[in-house]
């Protein structure tokens, strides 16, 4: 090993340390931003070292030029997307970055394989190449479909066409047969067949999964991309790729498990598909059976409370009402009301999404409480204000025998009184009635979240000054 090579390899090690340290700093909101910068620094270092490594190799001019052109296009596109995306659309963006990452990992393996395929290809290269392209191609198309579903470009309902299982199994068979072929006789054409089959499998895998389960799918595909990148590291014999890919694979796996648990779904049942659309039909509990309240009554109830717990859900974000909620909470806080936010692990469209949305509305993060922390406080709350949350507040989860059974919920029904702001009696993802709405301490304020919260603030000001 030359001195240059030694320095470069040590530099890659430093980059890997930066990735681990960066993830570690994400343990607390106070250090998380620094963590991301440390991680980005590691990435920059790895890129600079690779440029140096390439320069010492003296390659032809065309490769680097083509590379630079691609980097420019991708860099501009990535920067624009990152700057312009609405915080509510974060899950789609994560999915899109999964897609391109997985796609790039697959393409790298194809290029390397095509270069080697003239001569004999070792078992190690064949195995890791096949794993890389299969996982990468599946992730590419699967993530695009997932992003399309969340963005509304592909229907959020499960797409259950007849024979989909047979089609899926056939594609798996093609992939396996192609893989066996590649071990016997190296062939770029066969590798392409394997890729196409894997890409088709990605579509068939995600289409039958309902929009409500998409966050779990995205997290799983994140783990897939990490694994594909690690496999590319094996193909190219690059430790940096192996370490970074393994880190992402592990994090994606953990998040998938956490998310599935919080939604009361197993990863397997998510992948089998056919559950949840996000747009439930009107409920069987007639809107007449519940107690209604008015903006003025609700405003007085809130203004004279000592402790208010706000329970935000995706409906809040969909109505873009975070800022109105934050304004109302500030107003109440100014009157001496103790206001807290109760955040369910899957509030929003992915875990932690609600925290980001409220952060965007300038809500200080110490006011946000996680489920286990806030649940004992509900009996002490004068008012629980539910805005756009549904299934995660349904007391039916404590009983067996229904779609939300066993799901961890916020104990909203234990508060002294409950105000629910909701447009209609429509269902949540689980597609069942929310027993909270029929509770004797619950009153419903049927309105759009954004205007209702603004009206509440105005009413608090005029009625109690």
């Amino acid at each position: 090993m030359t001195a240059t090579e030694t320095v470069i390899r040590l530099g890659y090690l430093l980059a890997a340390v930066a990735f681990v340290l960066g993830l570690h700093l994400m343990n607390s909101p106070a250090t998380a931003r620094r963590g991301n910068l440390v991680s980005a620094g590691g990435m920059a270092l790895a890129v600079v070292l690779t440029v140096w490594h390439l320069a010492t190799d003296r390659p032809g001019a065309t490769g680097p030029l083509v590379l630079a052109a691609g980097v420019l296009v991708g860099g501009v596109a990535g920067a624009l997307l990152a700057r312009r995306v609405a915080m509510t659309a974060m899950p789609q963006l994560v999915s899109l970055f999964n897609a391109v990452g997985g796609g790039a990992a697959a393409l790298v393996a194809v290029a390397e394989y095509a270069r080697l395929a003239g001569g004999p290809v070792g078992v190690r290269t064949t195995l890791t190449t096949v794993l890389d392209v299969v996982i990468g191609a599946t992730t590419f198309t699967g993530s695009l479909v997932a992003a399309g579903k969340l963005q509304g470009w592909v229907t959020g309902s499960p797409v259950l066409f007849p024979g989909r299982r047979a089609v899926g199994l056939t594609l798996v068979a093609v992939v396996l047969a192609g893989a066996v072929w590649l071990f016997v006789a190296p062939s770029v054409a066969v590798l392409v067949v394997v890729i196409v089959a894997a890409a088709a499998f990605g579509v068939v895998m995600v289409l039958p999964i309902g929009g409500a389960d998409m966050p779990v799918v995205i997290s799983l595909l994140n783990a897939f991309t990490g694994t594909a990148v690690a496999m590319a590291g094996f193909v190219l014999d690059s430790t940096a790729l192996i370490i970074a890919g393994a880190l992402v694979g592990a994090s994606g796996t953990i998040l998938t498990k956490l998310m599935a648990d919080a939604m009361n779904r197993s990863v397997v049942s998510v992948l089998v598909g056919g559950f949840g659309t996000g747009d439930g039909p009107a409920a069987a509990v007639a809107a007449t059976a519940v107690r209604r309240t008015t903006v003025d009554d609700a405003a007085i109830q809130l203004a004279y409370a000592r402790k208010v717990i706000v329970v935000p859900g995706y409906g809040l974000a969909a109505a873009q009402a975070q800022h109105e909620l934050s304004a109302l909470a500030d107003l109440l806080g100014g009157r001496g009301v103790d206001v807290r936010y109760a955040i369910h692990p899957v509030a929003g469209r992915m875990p932690g999404h609600m925290n980001v949305l409220l952060a965007e509305a300038n809500v200080p993060y110490p006011m946000l409480r996680e489920m286990d922390e806030i649940n004992p406080e509900f009996p002490l709350a004068d008012v629980a204000l539910v805005v756009g949350a549904n299934d995660v507040t349904n007391p039916a989860a404590r009983r067996p025998g229904n779609p939300v059974s066993g799901m961890p919920i916020l104990d909203v029904d234990k508060a002294r009184s409950v105000i629910v702001i909701k447009r209609s009696m429509g269902h949540g993802y689980a597609g069942i009635d929310n027993e909270l709405y029929a509770g004797e301490r619950t009153s419903m304020l049927f309105a759009d979240a954004k205007s209702a919260l603004a009206d509440l603030s105005a009413a608090v000001k005029t009625l109690v000054g």
């Binding site: 681990v20 998040l255 925290n355």
Partner: protein, 92 residues
């Protein structure tokens, strides 16, 4: 199995374990930025694309490099920027 492969495998397994250990301590509050941040890290495939670019000699290879470079760079640049944008908003 060669020594090189065994070494790579060792590194892979240990990195997975480190990943589990580090990630499982992150609070739910930060799960969205965490997923986005982890996402940027798999943009490291850009290094792979650069290695391939140095070896490419044919037109199909150049085409693969161009597309893969665009994909990987979008992943890296977009991922880090959007994660920073999110974390910047978290305040006491």
């Amino acid at each position: 199995m060669s020594v090189a492969l065994l070494t790579d495998l060792t590194v892979f397994v240990l990195a997975v374990l480190v990943g589990f250990e580090v990630i499982s301590k992150v609070p739910a509050t930060l799960h969205t930025p965490l997923m986005s941040g982890a996402n940027s890290i798999h943009g490291i495939i850009l290094i792979g694309v650069m290695i391939i670019a140095g070896e490419a000699r044919t037109v199909p290879e150049y085409a693969l490099v161009a597309v893969a470079a665009a994909f990987a760079t979008a992943n890296v640049v977009g991922g880090y920027l959007v994660t920073d944008r999110m974390l910047e908003m978290f305040r006491r």
